[in-house]
Symmetry: C2
Amino acid sequence: MSVLSPALSQTLRIRFGDRFSISQALREQHGRGESHHTPAIPDAVVFAESTEDVAEIVRLCAAEDVPVIAFGAGTSLEGHLTAVRGGVSIDLSRMSQIVRVSAEDLDCTVEAGVSREQLNTHLRDMGLFFPIDPGANASIGGMASTRASGTNAVRYGTMRENVLSLTVVLPSGQVIRTGGRARKSSAGYDLTRLFVGSEGTLGIITEVTLRLYGIPETISAALCSFESVEQAVNAAIAVVQLGIPVARMELMDRGLIAAVNAYSNLSLKIEDTLAFEFHGFPAGVQEQVEMVKAIVEENGGKDFEWANAPEERNRLWKARHNAFYAVVSQRPHAKGWSSDVCVPVSQLSSCILKTRDLLRGCSVPAAILGHVGDGNYHVVFAVDPGNQAELNEVAAINKKMVQHAISVGGTSTGEHGVGTGKIGYLRGEHGDAVDLMAVIKHAIDPTGIMNPGKVLPG
Amino acid sequence: MSVLSPALSQTLRIRFGDRFSISQALREQHGRGESHHTPAIPDAVVFAESTEDVAEIVRLCAAEDVPVIAFGAGTSLEGHLTAVRGGVSIDLSRMSQIVRVSAEDLDCTVEAGVSREQLNTHLRDMGLFFPIDPGANASIGGMASTRASGTNAVRYGTMRENVLSLTVVLPSGQVIRTGGRARKSSAGYDLTRLFVGSEGTLGIITEVTLRLYGIPETISAALCSFESVEQAVNAAIAVVQLGIPVARMELMDRGLIAAVNAYSNLSLKIEDTLAFEFHGFPAGVQEQVEMVKAIVEENGGKDFEWANAPEERNRLWKARHNAFYAVVSQRPHAKGWSSDVCVPVSQLSSCILKTRDLLRGCSVPAAILGHVGDGNYHVVFAVDPGNQAELNEVAAINKKMVQHAISVGGTSTGEHGVGTGKIGYLRGEHGDAVDLMAVIKHAIDPTGIMNPGKVLPG
């Protein structure tokens, strides 16, 4: 039964016309992300076209204690979009204006529905790029909400480091800006960072001001294969510890390479592989490459295979980005379950080896991949969401992997967010600090209408 | 009159022995920072030696609604330490243990009272360093509390980017840890960033886990003089816009150079000057130096004067660090008033020129210096705190400078914090977002005992 009263439905319909919908197909599409989580369908979808639209929807819903869930590109992996208490899905995908770009200040302001690829296409001719790259063509608002990162984070940081300020609609419908355009500020509480990663549970992000970077003068990419995951990870750790500023350093285990070859029609060597990218000026890049080559060699790595032409590089990274889909496509009608932990780099090798042990005998296809420069890695499973035994099996593996990561000082999620999927681990990771999170949540959203059932347990 | 009841005083005295003091001299020393702000003396000082000590002091004070103010090294510039409602100053300087250092993970955990120089002395033999460098030999806890940065921020970021997690005593006396040791995490609200920059108004930071860096293989430093501030700033902006990863890029105007020569017994050319430092591997550093030289030349800069021997470099940066004291010492019995704004780099040149116009005819010594790579600059005035006309004159200049910075998208404080000194600008900068800050403050510290009268207006 809908939690929207007939009166509220009517008000929204009058105000938003055919941008308000209760179509079953549309609601189903808005109650799920890209992963295995059981969908939970909102009672209605409204397409917002401005911050004012969002503020008005929130105000109307708040008056009746109706939940609101922000929807961007729908690429969530941890159940962020499920309407577990019903309510209204606010679709921000039409808020796709790039409001301004400053090449001088290396920053821009975009509406929350702008996608990562749209932004980078727009920036390319200006010689600029936005490096945060979670793989999926996510919306910038969604990336801010989940504190996303991805392949370039080892060099450029995550959304935490690259969002300068936000426009946010609060649960009351009030609109605030969380900061200005200065590169740094000590003026008051860091509201920007409070909303980055809050997954729509404190407010809805409608505009984002981002740091940008010049496209590097020199970009080199290379693949290097190893006889074991351990060798590959040890090479990666040595690169980090020496402080070599690689731009990307990605682990793909041999299972993943096989899946990627099949999915993306490539013929990469089926071995445990590190993919590197180097950004900078010519001499500096050359120096980095030589140092990394020496480290790779010391750790048993084979020759670099270069992918320096832009189209080769794009092909390589596109294949890497499609890793999730490559694993899932190994099995008809499967859904992906992508777990995500991040540990101190000194623990990375032993954690990944423990994870491989856990995967031995796993009854569903699974592969390990990781942004190993940050200590962040994922296991992607291809699961049948209708098969409870299988889900239980993967859940048990996931649990062991996450608990081990937390036990060595790591986190239950490096970049996918908590959503519903990691909610059970929050207290184990943060202890009593979870109570403080709940105090903040209650102070900002006392009636609990903002994306209920996400992030905070209980 | 003391806000401490005789019973509370007695309880603290019994519990802490001679670590509890009501000596006038000690209280006076704890009611002020290093700048011109009128001191406000706490009713007592307690020297904490552990997180548990801090928790116990806070619990005892909370029971009687007595304010608590954390004190580290006493180097605050914006009145953070003034006991405007009386209460207890909790001195953390004896919490000076370096708890652990991991060379493998490039991180460490220190007690809040550890000083920046103490930490770097400890790290040097391990080939590591902590780059955040506000000039003063501040405590790490104080640096976290004010979101400090300084000369290296253009390359390494600020405390915002370099604190991995915190141990915090909440107003209830409860102790939390805000995160683990993973380089990145999407697991819940970013409590670390909420406490970084909260100036002791939400809780007291007792331990800090920090990112560390390897001491660069190659370090080069150079000075370059210009005929005008405008030329120097334009050169700095060009370096930023080209993405050259300089480690330091500091502006010192000719007035400052004269003061620094006198104070530090140097003979630098009395011209508007940029000081550079380059960090990295040999070829990359050489490449950076050549690019920066070309930019400097295009902008009318003169030859680089190198300071490559470690002792020369240390002398240069020590002189830069003493800039505040150098300006103040130009006038007997003066106090320093150091204002601090940060603007988008495209606005930096016009902001600094406007500031120079404001300083024309100013009746007290004043100099401009800045971390210009971040768009951050300071004016240091040497004022007589007993001369109200003079204070009014400087306040008027400061107000115009800050309001202009805010009007171009900048901030009222890049790194010194709000304290009492910038409190009047917070609403002008953040608008209604200040109300949200107040909601958070009230939720976490409902009785307002944590460093009252700081950060939030009214």
